[in-house]
Symmetry: C2
């Protein structure tokens, strides 16, 4: 099997396994990610639904070192502020501390990611709450497909919006027309260490309500 | 095998197959969807990533006929306006015409869905573009997991925001506190007909750019 055939085989991972072992993988090797793999992942991304099936998306796959540096610079500006907020949350929580370390590692190495995907949408998305939700609901399902597809083949990936704190600077970096909004950034690369594994979440019952908010019939006493 | 064991087996559908055959399934039977199935799907939804792993989500599973009627009423108000916009797009396009018919069917029968999920988030999500994206990016990956999980077991599902045109009325309908935003509505039920099947999208190459917007090296001449 060629590397790509092995990769393709990965896409047949059981759906539930991919979801149950999805994690943000931020420590990435510099080893290249080949075009075939990249295209296969993005093709699965574009299988996602969009409002009215409009598919108003554009994906920028960044490999150019200068553009990657510019994105990394934007990310560091944002992170230098966001870090303080995150650091307060840590407060002895080991899991939060590990996340902080990983995001710091990512900030220090973002330009070394073999490829950075920027997912964009036509439009600006700042209308009514309904229109806003429909706007972002027309790109994040694709982003989640991308992340799940990466997970299924063991390719490291994590979602961030930190480099997008200035729409003007982000647009300038990517030559984006004003009518196109950069929405999400996903660095891709093979994990430095194992990377993926079972994730843990709050018990579903804590966030599930029947008929009305507050009606917690699913919550065992 | 019990019905639920069969259902669980479905979650092992290959990831790529689930994505490649995901469709909006709007014509739903009134046959019940059991709690075990519902909980299993929602559990996979909550495996999705959220910004800072905050998991600030709440899911309302609506089975009560009065609440379903109220949601259907809100949906019809919104659809009576949106329909005109959609109708203009049809203009001889058969695929768009079929979608219009299906959304009309859904509007006429929404209260008969065995269960309607309303996905909500803590917060309001109307800050900077970066914060907005991060907000919606903390619920739509879960919504996409929910839709893919439903698809994998053949349970009909489709994403809509139409019933959420008035946050005030949506909050009142679901007893939601002011600090919680209803983001997406997903009616669930067994499909009237086959339901799922291969979906078609624009060729990836039309929406893919290298390094900068407009650099279309992946696009074959």
């Amino acid at each position: 099997m060629s590397v790509f055939e092995e990769v393709q085989h990965g896409f047949s991972m059981p759906l539930s396994e991919a979801m149950e072992t999805q994690r943000a993988v931020r420590r990435l090797k510099q080893d290249p990610v080949d075009d075939e793999t990249l295209l296969a992942i993005l093709r699965l991304a574009t299988k996602a639904p969009t409002g009215g099936n409009a598919q108003g998306w554009e994906f920028i796959a960044v490999r150019d070192p200068d553009v990657k540096h510019a994105i990394a610079r934007l990310n560091r500006m944002s992170w230098s502020l966001a870090r303080r907020m995150y650091a307060k949350k840590v407060n002895g929580d080991q899991k939060a501390a590990r996340m902080l370390e990983a995001v710091q590692w990512q900030a220090d190495h973002l330009e070394d990611s073999p490829v950075i995907i920027v997912a964009c949408l036509h439009g600006r998305g700042f209308l009514t709450p309904m229109a806003r939700s429909s706007f972002y609901g027309s790109i994040y399902p694709a982003v989640q497909n991308l992340l799940l597809a990466a997970r299924s083949i063991g390719l490291g990936a994590a979602l961030t919006t930190l480099p997008l704190w200035s729409q003007t600077l982000a647009r300038r970096t990517l030559n984006l027309p004003r009518g196109i909004t950069p929405v999400a950034v996903i660095p891709l690369g093979w994990p430095v260490r194992g990377g993926y594994g079972p994730n843990t979440r709050k018990p579903l019952e804590e966030v599930l309500h029947l008929d009305h908010y507050g009606n917690r019939v699913f919550l065992e006493a």
